[in-house]
Every structure is written in C-alpha cells, then in structure tokens.
Symmetry: C2
C-alpha cells in the first residue's frame, strides 16, 4: 500500500495523473482523514464515507469542471471538496471550518449550486443539459442522487423530463438502501429487486421512466466504477447508472447503525459514542413525542406523519416502534405528508404532521389547496422555525411564519414555553374545527408556570402578560420572554410597558388592539423575517391611527452560518436592544 | 335503444337498479345532455366526454358514497355530478350554474374535496385509506387520476406511499394520451407501450412503483369496465387499474383537436367554432409570445419553459412549432420548470418560465432554494395574478404577490400596462444579474404611452406619475390606473394627490418614501391579498412616523366565483372607493 500525500492534491487534474491502482490508496487516505475530521468536528458521516470511491471515480473519469456534476442535497460532497482544492479543510483541524457542509459556488467552481434540500439535482442538471444543447457545446452533465432523495416529487419530475432530453444526461443513483432513516415507499422494493438481480430484473423503474440503465453492484469498488463511467462518458442519450454503495463504509459503528451516523456530533472513533454528555436536556422534540405517544394509546385514530426526518421530531427508532401503525414516515415527500393529512382528517382520523420549518415550504400548495381550502382539521407541528434552529443558508427557519400565516383559514399558533406548547398541542389533537399550525419555540425548553392555558385556541385572544401604559411590547413565540425582560429593564428606567403574548399570528385580536389604540408605541418582535410577517399586520392595522409601530425581526436575507446571539444584537432582538428602541422612539 | 329519463336519476342507487345493458343507453343520454350544456355554456369538454362510461361503471359497481372516490383535479366530474343528485344542473339551462366545475363538498357528500390543482388525488386518497385502516372499517378507497396529472411530483409521492399501504387502495389511471396539450415526459413512452401491449409489457411503471396492475383497453366500454371494477372491488392490496379512454369521445371536433377542446367557451356543436367572435383582442399572452418569439430568433439560448398550460401563456400549437427546441413544456411539473430554469441560467442560457399565478405556488421551494438562494438570473412571467384572473376558489391569483416578494433576492416587477410589461420583459430577457418575476397586469390589455420606460429595472425606483401634495396614492400593477382615476376624482374635490407607480413590490424605494414622509396620508392598492403583501411593507416603513397609511387589497379568503366588479366595490379598489377612503381619512 502506498501512502498518498493528500496535501499534493490541489485539483482533480492531480488524481488524473495517478495510476488507476493508486486510487484505492487515495481512498484509504481520504477515508482516514475524513474519519478524523468527522469524529473531531461532527458532520454528515454515513453519506460521505459511502461516496468516497464514487467521487474519486467521477473526477478521475470525467473532465470536471467542464463536465458538470450536480450533487443532490450535497451532504455527500466532503470527498468532492477534498479533491477540488479544499483538502486542507479536511486534514488540518485549524481549517475544518473553512468549508460549509454543502456544495457552495462561492467556495469553488466545481460546486455548481448551494444545495441542502433533497431531490432537485436531476432538475437542475436537466437545465444544465438543455443549456448545453442550446449552446451547442458537448460536456457531460451528471446528477448524483441518493435512493432516499428519489422519494421527493421533484426528483420524479426531473427524471420524467430528463428522460426526454435525447442527449447526454447521466443520472447516478447512489443506492445505499437508506434515507436519513430507513426508506419508505413502493419504489424501494424495485431498487432492492434490481440490487438482488445485479440490475437485470425486467421490472425496472428507471427504464419505465424512459432511461437507459446500467448497474454497478460494487459501488465502493473503484475499478468497477471507473469501467462503468468510462463506458457511459460522452453517451448521447439519458442514462441512469445505479450504484450500490455502503453508507458509513469504513466506520463499523456507522455501518451498523446507519441512522445514528447519518449525521453526528463529534464522537469517539472506536466506540461511536458522542463526546458530549448523553444527558442532553429534554427538548421540544421529546416533549412532543412523549405527549403524542401517550395520547395515541387513548386515541387509536391519532396518527403522526413525518417526511423522512423522524429523529428531528423526537421519533427515535424505539419511539417509532412504540407508535406502530400510528406513526407514518412517507419518505422525503412533504407534499404527500400534507395532502395525506387532509385525507386522514376527512376520513375521521386525527393527523399530526411534524416537519422542520425549512422543509414544509415544499408543500405550500398542499397547505393552501388540500388543507386550508378544504378546512381539514389536521395539526402541523413546525420544528426549527427560529433563529435558534439550523443556521445553514439552505436550512433557515425564518420564512415559515409569513408563508403559513397568510394562507386563509390556517390558524398559526406560536407557543412561548413548554406549558403553552403542550396545551396547544393537546387542544389541537382533539379539536375537529380547523387546520392548526403549532410553531415550536426556538432554543432550549423554557418553562413558564404563570402562562395562562386556554381550553380553546381557535379564536384570537392575545394575552396581556404584563399590564402597562403608553407602550406595548408584543412578543411572538420565542421572543415573548425577551420582551418580558426588556419590560423589566425599561421599568427600572421609569417606563411601564405592557407586554402581550399574541398566542397566534394568523388573525388579529382587534379587541385587544383597539384597547391600546391610545398608546404611543407598539413594538413587535417575531422569530422570522419581518417582511410578510406578523408585525407588518400590526403596523397595517394601526396605519391610520396615531400609534407608532416598530417591527422587529430578521431582514429578508439568506444568512449563512450566523451566530444567533450576534443576530439578535444586530436586529435589536434582545432585551437591551428593545429597551434602546423604545427609549429612542419616545425621545 | 332505450330512452333513459335522466331526471329520474337522483343518486347512484338509481343506476344500480338498472340492468347492465341499460347503462349504454344511459351513457348516450348523458353524453347528449353534456354536449348540449357544454356547447351552450362552455366548460371542460374533452375530460368529461371521455369519462362518462368509467364514471357510470364506478358508481354502478362501488357502493358510493360509503366507498370513496377522489377525482384528481376534478375537471372530469360532470358525469359524476349528474349521477349524484345534481342532474338538473346538466339538463336544465336555467340551472346550469347551480354547480361548480369541480368537486365541491358543499354541493354533495359524494364530493370529498374541493380540487382544481392536479396530481394530489392519490395522496388525498391514501389518507382516506389510512384513516379507514386506523378505524377498522372496510370501504373501498379509489383515486381517479389522468395520465397528464401523473407528471406532477405529488402524484408520484402519493403512488410511492400508496403502494406501501398493504390494504385496499385502488388507483384508476385514466389514460387518454393527453394532458391539457400533448403529454411530455419519459413515463409516457411506458404508458404507450402498455397500451400497445394490452397491458402486458414487462416494463411497467406501476409495478415498478409497487402496485399490482390491471389494464382495460376499451376504457369507454361499460361492460369491460364493470367486469374489471367487480374483479378488484374489496381487493386487499394496492392496485392500479389503467384504463385507455378517448378524450372528447362523442364530439368529433373534440376527438380530432383534443387540446382545443380540453376546455372551451360556448361553441357550435356541429362545427366546433366558438360562438363568440374569433376577433378576440390581443391579450398579454399574445404580447408575451410574440415578443419572445421574435427575440428567440436573435438569441438561440433564449428558452421558454412552461408546465403543461401552453395555451394560457399564448403558446398555441403553431407558436410552439415556431419556437422549436426553444420552447419546453415539462408537463404538469412546476417544480421541474423552476429548478430547471436555475440549471439553464447557470449553464448560460436565458430561461423564461411562464406560469399561472395559482400554479406557481407548487414550486415555492424551488423559487426559494434553487433560484433565489443561488442568485440565478431566470425570468418568471406570472399570468392571472389578479382579481381579473380566474375566479374559481381553486384557481385564485391573489396569493403570489406576497409569496414571491418575501423571498430574498427575488425582484418582483409589477408592470401596469402593455408598454411597461414589454419593456420589463425585454430588460429581463437580456440581464444576467438576478432572478426576476414579472407579474402580468390583470384584465384587458391597457396602453399608456406616457409611462416612463427604464433601461434597467434592477434597483427600486418608484415613479411619481402625478405630482401632488399631502396625499400619496401608490397603485401596484393593475391598480395604478385606478389610482390615477381616483386622483382625478379627488382633484375635482379640491385635493391634489400624488400618484406613484412602484414598479416592483419586493424592495422599498426608501428615497421616494422619505420624500413623502411629511405627507398626511398614503394609500396603497394591490391586486392580491393585503396580508403579507406590498402595502403592509409601506405601513411598516411609516410605522414610526406621523404619516397615516391605509392598505387596500383583498381579504385573506378563498373567494369562489366572485364578480370582480363587486369585489372591487367591496374592497374599495375602484376610483370612487379610494376617493371616499381619502376623504373620510382626512376628515
């Protein structure tokens, strides 16, 4: 075995100089470096370990960056980054944070798109292929998509169109028989059949969609991959290359528990145990899962729907087992999750769809048409809709509040603490009147024993949590306690602000608002962008009065890897900032 | 042949009393009545004529409404309405308007959902089936979906999940080898293969997705359909029944020109010619198509993308032929249209995606992630985003303005007239700086020779189209001329209002707004719901000033079959209403 000096690899041209037999040693060296970084730094473990060989083979055979590769969701692109000028970010701990976890055109010309949502790579690549054909150039266009991502509807749309291109179009299906958790969907039986027949089964999803088809059984074997890629390089029609890879390959604990090691915080390479304490405090995901699991036992028609991210909503493998047929993972298919919930509600079941903020936007049309227009009483629990959620530009939780609250008939509740979240959830589990969204507060679980719990959240009823004069501070969800603290600060400076918990953001409590229409100043703070959100409704309502309104929230921007604390400071979303705003407004 | 008295059919129970051989005569009578209504009243011609036999057979065999049928997009449900208590609306001209053009639960318990967007029926039905299984009941659950609708990603998501149900789940694929226009997509080769092999081909999309499969070659033959439906009634696993039907059957002109007769205004039954004058005035669709067709000849990389509704954007079969490979219909697949545009722009082409307002919401995630986050300079031309668009509750154009204008980095232009629309389109065809949405004005084409045309629309620059004092009227798109007229009315009453054309709704022109911050009153009017829209941004901007702001627009509601004139009156969106608002605000 040869020791490959990774630092010598500055671009794919450097590996194309290597003998084919050296590439196995290159993979060994890359895997070793990756394991060291992953264990020390955390990241997407399984997807990257499984794709080292395929990515080496792709860059070895194809003439990147002229030949174009689009990696779906792009959480498998650490090996790609290593080979395309960013090796140091994987070998030198001081530079681990130089790169993002996804492809990023600002980092490299080898990265075509910023991607973090699944299933769009085939569509994006189909556009690149069509552009090539219009311009008359000849490069290869390649989409790399995982089996888990295939369940998203846009992937199907992309394949359906891509099959008709009639020119070079290569789709690599990276099949490791896993999504983030296990796969769900009818297509996976066919993928299994294809794997079990070495790709020879008559019943072939990809051929049925109009593609030529190739199969590589040893998808972690570089010579097999190179032979296949050479055979289809410069092909002049659309082809699917189905490669069978091992998620987590080379890390026994990741091979054994693929779900746990899809993504991991820093961990011990030997044991696989995370370095951080396993006594993590109870999160809203746990609160959610425990309450609905208990309720399920009393209500057989209560059913939880999730779209491929069960861990993010508290449904560990153990809890999924406990829920049995009352837990449904539809695969990465948010449109299905939301439309199915409409059918479930219409059929008399009690569906609760739990989704991350950043992904629910994939089902806007279903929220609008299938749920709201049809008045179906489904419950939607939105996680990570907060600046304290995920801080990658591709996974921001800033947009759902305006998106959902402007759909007619959809009640969007914004609990502020553990007690209110659980009360709203309990109420919505049982109500049969309307579609309800419950936006989980951001950050650590917070308890507030003084919060007023209602029997019915269906009508707007803002709660005055602190009486006051002249100034009203309306704090939505996560930002109610911030407003409360700001009020305390202000009270020490001689002000006496009212603090209001609106409880929801989709309807105005005009009685409450009218009761403060002789106030001087109303400040709103919400955990999302200001544009299209709650505060602007308040500003509009008071537009023809003498009440001054100042809206606080986030700018309409795609922020990337921001610090939440810094962001709070910049946007005056902390108690000091709010107090300053009040004092300067009243000067 | 027996003459069937349609008025005796009050519910499917009445046809279940009939001998099977009478059903053919029933179909004859229903087709005759339908043809009379369609020719006199207009409506979805082809889809309904093709499904008379299948709908008779479904209600004959299945025990509706206990057995549940979900009709995808539901524009093929006139025969269903005839058999389920609403015959008079198809036989008595005085009652033609008693029913909507889509299933509607407010009309009948046989209608499960209000549906008008394609591709969601399988998902909705999967929810009904799961609810049934949770409750332990035993009814059949049936989704009816057309071949055109299969190209929508949510249909695939629904099939992928539905195949795993493990219990009764029946999907009728109504294959008439047409979408609204011709089909586009790789799957259609497989459907053709299945039709040509009487359903016996090995390569079978539905089996590959995990379904059992049946085929009915004579999908307009009632005995064949009844035999098949009887054979799968109460089946205990998921099955696709692929039926080969004739779109427009029984109307020779519709059989011959399926695209023209997908939907038609009233027409002469013999000739197929519409009764209304064929000299319809040039619409924005024509203006759009003509300008881009001319430009295409100069710019080979200019490409128009549409998602299954080419006629709605001015691309008749002749114009599509003229555009050649520079026109792409991706099928009913808005996500693909938008994500592909990102790939096209990245690849150096100049994509223009043209979509109806109501359908673009199916691609929100692609607008946000694939286009805006990636800063790709694609152009989106939005038709029917207006109260003067389509007035069915399922097809409203009220929501796109807020939806798109709150996405970072997306420039949303709102032209007010023919000249401005074409100038903005021309500018965006050539610019390579940012993603641009151009919202086509509502109503008839309006000319305004005084409008100021810019060389560059990339930066906010509100145009003061009428100078004035104290009062500013900001009219967005369609409502600029309304504001201008209101200003004239007000000037006769001694006021002198300024009128502003903001040109866009995604960024504030703060210089312009600051120049009027000593005004008393600002009124905004926009062609969409107020919530989350443009006016609320203005209200927020002036929130801490003495300027009073009143936002005019639509309420956050799903209106149905409204009168645009009435709606303008109710919402003070006409010159008199606006003048009244100003006068009472300044009292």
């Amino acid at each position: 075995m040869e020791n490959i000096d990774l630092s010598m690899i500055k671009s794919p041209a450097d590996i194309r100089q290597m003998y084919e037999k050296q590439l196995k040693d290159l993979a060994v060296a890359m895997r070793k470096a990756l394991l060291e970084k992953l264990s020390a730094h955390g990241g997407h473990v399984g997807p990257n370990l499984g794709m080292i060989e395929a990515i080496i083979a792709l860059h070895y055979v194809f003439n990147t960056p002229e030949d174009k590769i689009v990696f779906d969701v792009s959480h498998q692109t650490y090996p790609h980054k290593m080979l395309t000028g960013r090796m140091q970010a994987f070998t030198d701990p001081a530079h681990y944070d130089d790169v993002t976890g996804y492809t990023n055109p600002q980092e490299s010309d080898y990265d075509l798109f910023s991607l973090g949502h699944t299933s769009s790579a085939v569509s994006l690549a189909s556009g690149l292929a069509k552009a090539r054909d219009l311009k008359g150039s000849k490069e290869n266009v390649i989409a790399v998509i995982g089996d888990g991502s295939l369940s998203g509807g846009v992937a199907f749309e992309g394949l359906d169109y891509g099959a008709t291109l009639g020119t070079n179009f290569i789709v690599i299906v990276n099949d490791n028989d896993m999504s983030i958790a296990e796969n769900h969907g009818g297509i996976y039986a066919d993928l299994r059949l294809l794997r079990n027949t070495n790709g020879t089964a008559d019943n072939n999803l990809f051929r049925a969609m109009g593609f030529a088809y190739r199969y590589v059984h040893y998808g972690n074997d570089i010579p097999s991959l190179i032979n296949m890629f050479r055979s289809i390089k410069d092909i002049n029609y659309p082809v699917v290359v189905h490669i069978n890879t091992m998620k987590g390959m080379g890390l026994p604990v990741a091979e054994a528990d693929k779900e746990k090691f899809h993504f991991s915080a820093p961990f011990d390479l030997k044991t696989g145990e995370p370095y951080s304490s396993s006594d993590t405090p109870e999160g809203y995901d746990d609160l959610f899962a425990n309450q609905v699991l208990a309720r399920m036992k009393e209500v057989p028609e209560l059913v939880i729907i999730n779209a491929g991210t069960p861990g993010a909503i508290g449904f560990s493998p153990e809890r999924r087992k406990e829920a049995g047929s009352q837990f449904v993972d539809v695969g990465i298919a948010e449109q299905q999750a939301v439309a199915m919930a409409s059918g479930l509600a219409k059929g008399g079941a009690r569906p609760i769809v739990a989704l991350a903020s950043t992904f629910l936007q994939r089902a806007y049309d279903q929220f609008s048409q299938d749920i709201a227009l049809n008045h179906q009483p489904a419950t939607f629990v939105v996680f990570y809709g907060s600046i304290f959620g995920i801080n990658d530009e591709t996974h921001l939780g800033f947009f759902d509040l305006g998106l959902l609250s402007n759909i007619p008939d959809l009640l969007v509740l914004t609990p502020t603490c553990r007690e209110e979240f659980l009360a709203m959830l309990r109420w919505s589990e049982d109500q049969r009147r309307k579609p309800v969204v419950i936006r989980v507060p951001g950050g650590a679980v917070r308890s507030d024993s003084k919060i007023t719990i209602l029997d019915d959240y269906s009508c707007p009823s803002y709660e005055i949590v602190r009486k006051g004069l002249r100034i009203a501070l309306i704090g939505v969800g996560t930002f109610l306690p911030v407003m409360q603290q700001a009020a305390e600060n202000l009270s020490m400076k001689g002000f006496d602000p009212m603090v209001i918990n609106p409880r929801e953001v989709s309807t105005l409590d005009t009685a409450c608002l009218d009761s403060i229409k002789d106030f001087d100043l109303v400040i709103t703070a919400e955990d999302g962008i200001i544009d299209g959100g709650f505060g602007q409704k308040i500003a509009s309502y008071f537009g023809d009065t003498a009440v001054n309104v100042i809206n606080l929230g986030l700018p309409k921007e795609f922020l990337n890897r921001y610090s939440a604390i810094e962001l709070q400071r910049e946007c005056n979303l902390n108690p000091d900032g709010i107090a300053d705003i009040v004092m300067s407004a009243l000067k």
